[in-house]
């Protein structure tokens, strides 16, 4: 039996497995999704499964860490994901959430430390090595709406429901409450430090306060106009503030305004009306020459500081390009040096590179839209022909290998056992793969380290070859008995993968093998399913990688000449899981995007011209 599971052990609750399985079998017997597809490697019966009712939760916060080029994303269900932007935008870490821990704020501090705060009033620090929660500490101010780390990273501010702004000192292993700032009348929804660390701006309802950090007193209270296009709205909520080093405070609010304030005088400098709905998020670049705001209409606006005339030093903020990659509220935005990152209720994480900042126009500079997690949510039992779905809050856990004593301090992310039960391969967050002998519970060998994280691994049944897929789309084959890469793996590394193969933007999430055909490796990502036939020649850049299904009348000669090792099928999209049930049966689990969108709350209605 093939079994792959996730290494962390929290929040495991049994789910109604039996009922799910029954329903699956019901479906299968009635064969609503049963199709026969011819792949060139042979005929398979395909179970096309579309009843995996998975809906990713909306993105609530996004925090970008410039030092490690990592992005922390928190979702409305409390899940926190860490993306490595250098490793092909791979989601390398994952903290499962809980309804009681809905995050409202997320920030990096002291370099690599990640904090979150939520409506339960707790500040949580995450252990990025062990992938668990280091500690949770109550701030005693009611629900926390906002949090900001000081520019030096040594202090942490939390804005609370009761109108208090609390300053915490970050100690090496904990945070310590230092003092309260002047208490305001209503909740603090947004916070921003002046880059010099001397002042902070706090956005509340109907006004923005500027605090002096030393004294802790509010020096300015800037009232925001409630009027929206001449109509008075009930309240104007300051969803976000940004303090620039020249003393300018930028605020975004629920009336659709982006406003520039002079913090020295407390006056409004400029007003941009960008949306008919709320502007919900703001992020400023480190150079302070551009910032990005996200609106409830799903539009992301880019603002740039441009010189008024070429020969004067006077500069002004200008709204430049709008981007409409979202259908729903953009709840969070981030500004990396080369890209604008946005996420919202429609669950997509969109990374839009800034073309003027990109040095070379390669595939990395393309727009990325990440919808599905970069891991496998489905397992399958071949013998009993069972599928196992993994949801956010009812999570199945295969207990395999939990008794294995690991030799490293970091937690394991991916595990694979050999079908004969002799070997266990485990991969942590930092690239290396360890192979253990299950019989004597000892480390057998370690696969040489590779720069990019492992996205999937599996051990072949007969040969005990370990197949490893990395986030940069490289695939290795490592012989466990020989403790070295196989000949085929060396060949493909020497020759290199096809450029189109390397340009795919979703990682391989599952690898499996054909029982009767030892030369075949089956793997898939969200958009394609591939059978690698090791006996056939490898494709080079000139050959067609994505060959369509062969027409029936094509002669064998042509078919043989054009044949290469990678047989790719793109019929099933988006593909969450695909595996062989038996020699002639495939199971494919799809999750059409439309089905997810149908379950989201309706977006803000916008008038479209011509309708």
């Amino acid at each position: 039996m093939l079994a792959v599971g996730w290494g962390w052990l929290t929040d495991a609750r049994p789910s109604p497995v039996a009922s799910q399985l029954k329903s699956f079998w019901f479906c299968r017997r009635h064969q609503p999704h049963r199709r026969c597809r011819s792949l060139r490697m042979g005929e398979f019966k395909v179970h096309r499964v579309r009843f995996f009712n998975y809906v990713p939760s909306g993105i609530r916060c996004v925090a970008y860490n410039n030092q490690s080029n990592r992005l922390a994303v928190s979702r409305t269900d409390g899940t926190v994901e860490i993306y490595n932007l250098s490793a092909n935008y791979f989601q390398e870490k994952f903290f499962p959430g809980h309804e009681s821990r809905a995050t409202e704020a997320l920030c990096w501090a002291k370099g690599q430390r990640l904090f979150s705060a939520g409506l339960n009033g707790e500040i949580i620090e995450y252990d990025l090595q062990a992938l668990n929660i280091k500690y949770a500490m109550d701030a005693f101010g009611g629900p926390i709406w906002s949090m900001a780390a000081s520019p030096s990273g040594s202090q942490l501010l939390a804005g609370c429901e009761d109108g208090s702004v609390k300053l915490f000192q970050i100690t090496p292993d904990k945070i310590q409450f230092e003092r309260n700032f002047d208490r305001q009348k209503s909740r603090i929804l947004s916070l921003s430090w002046r880059p010099s660390g001397t002042h902070i701006a706090a956005g509340s309802i109907d006004y923005i306060s500027v605090f002096d950090v030393k004294s802790g007193s509010a020096i300015h209270k800037m009232l925001v106009d409630r009027q929206y296009m001449g109509v008075s709205k009930r309240k104007c909520i300051i969803w976000g503030v940004a303090f620039l080093s020249d003393g300018t405070v930028i605020s975004v609010d629920s009336a659709g305004k982006v406003q520039f304030w002079d913090s020295a005088t407390g006056t409004l400098v400029k007003n941009h009306l960008v949306a008919n709905a709320d502007v919900q998020s703001i992020a400023v670049s480190d150079q302070e020459d551009s910032f990005v705001v996200g609106t409830a209409e799903g539009t992301v606006f880019h603002f740039q500081l441009v010189s008024v005339t070429s020969n004067s030093s006077e500069k002004q903020w200008v709204r430049t390009k709008p981007f409409q990659h979202h259908t729903h509220d953009v709840r969070a935005v981030a500004h990396s040096p080369t890209a604008l990152i946005s996420g919202g209720t429609d669950t997509h994480l969109v990374i839009r590179p800034l073309m003027e900042k990109v040095e070379v126009k390669n595939y990395d500079a393309a727009l990325r839209k990440i919808t599905f997690p970069h891991r496998r949510l489905i397992s399958c039992s071949k013998k009993k022909q069972l599928l196992l779905f993994q949801f956010a809050h009812h999570l199945e856990l295969w207990q395999l290998g939990s008794t294995v004593a690991t030799g490293t301090v970091e937690s394991m992310c991916l595990l694979a056992v050999s079908p004969d039960g002799n070997w266990l391969a485990a991969s942590g967050t930092s690239a290396g793969v360890h192979v253990y002998n299950v019989k004597n519970l000892k480390l057998h060998c370690t696969v040489p380290a590779y720069n990019f994280p492992v996205t999937a691994l599996a051990i072949a049944p007969s040969t005990n070859n370990l197949v490893i897929a990395h986030s940069d789309q490289q695939v290795f084959e490592y012989s466990i008995p020989d403790k070295q890469y196989t000949e085929w793996s060396r060949t493909i590394q020497k020759q290199g993968f096809h450029h189109l193969w390397l340009q795919r933007d979703t990682p391989i999430t599952h690898i499996s093998f054909h029982l009767k055909r030892p030369m075949h490796i089956l793997l898939h990502d969200a958009y394609m399913f591939c059978i690698i036939d090791k006996s056939l020649p490898l494709p080079n850049d000139k050959t067609l990688l994505y060959n369509p299904l062969p027409p029936k009348n094509e002669s064998d000669v042509i078919r043989r000449r054009t044949a290469h090792a990678f047989k790719i099928s793109k019929i099933y999209k988006p593909l969450l899981f695909m595996d062989l049930l038996d020699e002639r049966t495939l199971v494919a689990v799809e999750r059409p995007l439309d089905d997810i969108i149908a379950q989201l709350p309706p977006p803000i209605k916008k008038k479209k011209f011509g309708t």
Partner: protein
Amino acid sequence: MLLYLYFLGLLDSWPQPGPDLLLAIALTRCILISERYIFCVSGDFVKVYSTATEECVHILQGHRNLVTGIQLNPNNHLQLYSCSFDGTIKLWDYVDGILIKTFIVGHKLHALFTVAHAEDSVFVTINKEKPDIFQLVSVKLPKSSSQEIESKELSFVLDYINQSPKYIAFGNEGEYVAAVRDFSLSVYFFKKKTTSRFTLSSSRNKKHAKNNFTCVACHPKEDCIATGHKDGKIRLWRNFDDDKKYTYTCLHWHHDMVMDLAFSVTGTSLLSGGRESVLVEWRDAAEKNKEFLPRLGATIEHISVSPAGDLFCTSHSDNKIIVIHRNLEASAVIQGLVKDSNIFTGLMIDPRTKALVLNGKPGHLQFYSLQSDKQLYNLDIVQQEYINDYGLIQIELTKAAFGCYGNWLATVEQRQEKETELELQMKLWMYNKKTQGFVLNTKVNMPHEDHITALCFCNAEKSENPTLVTASKDGHFKVWILTDDSDIYKKAVGWTCDFVGSYHKYQATNCCFSEDGSLLAVSFEEIVTIWDSETWELKCTFCQRAGKIRHLCFGRLTCSKYLLGATENGILCCWNLLSCALEWSAKLNVRVMEPDLNSENIAAISHSSMGSDLFVFKPSEPRPLYIQKNISREEVQWGVFVPRDVPESFTSESYRWLNRSQFYFLTKSQSLLTLSTKSPEEKLTPTSKQLLAEESLPTTPFYFILGKHRQQQDEKLNAALENELVQLPLTENIPAINELLHTPAHVLPSASFLCSMFVNSLLLSKESKSAEEIPDDVDMEEEKESDDSDEENDFTEKVQDTDNTDLGEDIIHQLSKSEEKELRKFRKVDYSWITAL
């Protein structure tokens, strides 16, 4: 007699011949507004209007070809630069209408730009080698006291640009120039001498299908370029001095091509306009902060902002200029003849106002005063919101007729989406004396089963009951009469159908009442039927089997016993109603046949590949009173006699027909032309105002083409020729002889008659000299028409161009004495022919 053709209209322009016809239309219409005046280019002239009174103050004339660009002198706001295809830049004092200086550049100039800091140079667009490669060059204007200065000092700025001035803009006090073409924006920096080029993705990608640039404007204070695009977007470019860091903002409101853009003087707002006929003001370059001035009537072609910033001005595709205040309130409208749509109704004269009536805006009738060159009145016939979109089939106003001295107006509108789905509506409007306008009285849905081909009122004096006849392709003609439609609520009158007539299921093609209203003639394809209007009895039929009848009309006054019909096969027939027999017929391919309401005369315009010819005749005589060859190269669509307010007193037989009416006609390209005895320069502002000395005065193109050569010629010949200039091409021997030979024998008068006429004509050659004095008399009377002074002589020039090729300098230069004799002989022969006919 000298006959000149005038072109009427406000923003009229002759499209530049050649491949880029579309651009040329936009090119020549160019407007500019200063504090007190609006300048608009109109053919060879620049017209100066007052913003306060909307009156034309001056016409700046002097260019010998189309004026292509005008700019205020940035250093003296009371002066105006203009450039023209004739290769000159002229500096005007527009307050007094005086030409100050002429700079001769030599190239054909396509656009003109001035920059404040560059005092002694202007920028022009010239065409170098290939027809569509244009260059922007700066021209140094040398300082000199003389009137005409050669300025050939050109320095190259930008290549491969678009010729229209909309595609080029100077920014930031002339630090850079932005030019757009197709999918790219080029910015040339004068200080750095570098060009940046930004290209948008072209139409291959469907998403960016219409990214073409259509216009450009530069912010007056900041480094910001606004560009308009074909898909209606406006892009605001910034940081364009850096090839990589450049950025732009999109403003999108227009759903179709942005026609023009203009920044306000301070740069705080941007004005844009297009086919939506809405002027949009974008404040602070923010998408959410915009103001509109809607319902401007027609596509905005140009936008101009006055230097003080308190006035805007837009020009529209329907020959209109609107002056708009800073607070987006239209303060004045200068409306010329609307040229926007097809003319289906033909030319009519409103019997009350003597205004010319024809199709105006879509679904409207326009009343246009020929005397003041102004639109008087616009009657909305269709009374439906006009949806301005390509591909929509609109309701079209196809027929209109006035009846009972202008008391009634009948209109027909139709809309046909498919072959079988015809929507037809006839409306009858009554003149309301109180409101001084037409009020809808009766609306008839589907008056006929098929298209209505003709519509006529019985305009007889004695007829007590107004009667209307409609003829239709469905084979019927219907008689509609006014009846009492009163009920218990009010007294009212309405129109009802009184009689339906048909003839052998033929399509009814024309209908016409006799002058006294006793007879109705209806043509059914090839057959003309005569009906008694009292009893609606078929009286008789005429059938000539010479093709379908295209035009039909009764003679008037002394000739009321004749009925004229013109057929498609090119036969003009005249029937005698008393004898019910064919009186005469002539071979003439008649396109337009119009009776003069004040005389017996009938004008017919024939068309051949050579051009259109005008014939004026009386039905009683088979010979024309007057022939004018080649009045237009293109087909003439409509013509009309306009009664004169004060009759002229021409004594000469050949133009006595112009005594009581003036003849106007409309060509296929919708140029409205007329015949006049005065030359264009006489009609325009007195030349004495000009500073130039008499001898260096470049009077008119006419003078240049013919006048100069004349001076070098033998005085005698000169004197003889000068007065017959225009007639010469007509009297050329070959067509005349051809005509003599080609005229069917049965049309020709008897030989004795011809002979006596011929002998008479020999004597008349002396009489013609006495006729030369007549234009002087004419001038006196024509002064009254000096309101028309803004009319143009474009057409004149064209005609004369052809004249030049016909009899041009070669012939005149090389005339030997014998040839001269021969020519005179020919002339005599021709002349005799004309009068004899």
